[in-house]
Symmetry: C2
Subunit: 175 residues, 2 copies
DNA sequence: TCGTCTGATTGCATTTTGCAACTGGTTGCA
DNA sequence: TGCAACCAGTTGCAAAATGCAATCAGACGA
């Protein structure tokens, strides 16, 4: 690899096209989604806890590309010499409204399951105000931005995680 | 081709994943974008007026897939026995907010050109109210929904097209 | 009748993806 | 001190998707 952030010949300067060039494949969105909503920060957790079953070489490649694109960053985990922590950058965090919109569209038009769409529903119902609160939590957790330290109490992240668990528990009980 | 709308084994029931399964490639978004904002409704115009240069076999394949997914529809053009008109469905029209969000993100973080991002800018500034107006215009033009017939006056579609032309003219003049 | 336009298809080379096995190293525990 | 478990990946190979150029058959207009 010659350059960390290579200058690529773009197909056009259209914002939709440029976004597709960065995120337009079967896995990039999935990786960012898991980091954003599943709080997965290590290679192994992204690999094994992936709902869709990503292959390790693909994950490796996507983490490299997303890092090169400036959407995520990588740093050493002090707890383990071989561990690396992946974090969302501000650029990555600001993909949240895109995820919210895609989630809302998918929920309306595609055959989603209840437990995997409850978070999209809450995000849709919460609107831009909730998104902003969640983005601030992500800024605290991923960027270490102390200005964004959340007030004690229920965070949006926890709220989403608990809603998911509640649906899973309820559906498991019904059987 | 066995079935018009084939039942596919999905990777998961997550709304993000399902959307990626349908639109997660290098061209699907581009084709829908051109139909939505470029008012291209025929194979030939989509092929030759594409900013990015799509190949005819890829375009053919994507039109087929998007039709199978229910995002666009195809019907005969009465003016020419070989012509086909592609239209957005309601499901496709409702992708507009997704495009608006992606456009806003791309405009902020990627090396866009002015003429190709002016429409994204207007869409961002106009907000959900403008999106709804534009979606109604699309419902009239693509679905023939008379309830959505726009009042005489400047339509959002025209507004976007003219803003684009104005930037191109200004930049051409500067040289 | 001839040239152009229509929505595509075909053949072929290149690139990307998917899968399974494997690597070199670290860590915690007995 | 040895050993199993864990860490972030890499490697090799088959299969699928993509990209490009040439081509196609029917329809249209002059």
């Amino acid at each position: 690899m010659v350059a960390e952030r290579e200058e690529i010949a773009h197909r056009s300067g259209c914002p939709i096209n440029l976004t597709v060039e960065v995120l337009g494949d079967k896995w990039s969105f999935i990786v960012v989604r898991d980091m954003m909503f599943g709080n997965r920060r290590h290679f192994r957790t992204l690999l094994t806890q992936s709902e869709e079953g990503i292959a390790s070489n693909i994950l490796s490649d996507r983490l490299r590309r997303l890092t090169a694109a400036g959407i995520i960053s990588k740093k050493d985990d002090p707890s383990h010499k071989q561990k690396a922590i992946y974090s969302l950058t501000e650029q990555g965090i600001e993909l949240l409204p895109v995820f919210a919109m895609i989630g809302a569209w998918g929920r309306k038009w595609l055959p989603v399951t209840e437990e995997l769409s409850i978070r999209a529903q809450l995000l849709e119902e919460g609107g831009p105000q909730l998104w902003e609160k969640f983005m601030n939590e992500l800024r605290y957790e991923h960027l270490g931005d102390e200005n964004c330290r959340p007030e004690p109490g229920t965070s949006v992240g926890k709220q989403l995680a608990e809603a998911y668990k509640a649906v899973v528990a309820r559906k498991g009980a019904k059987k």
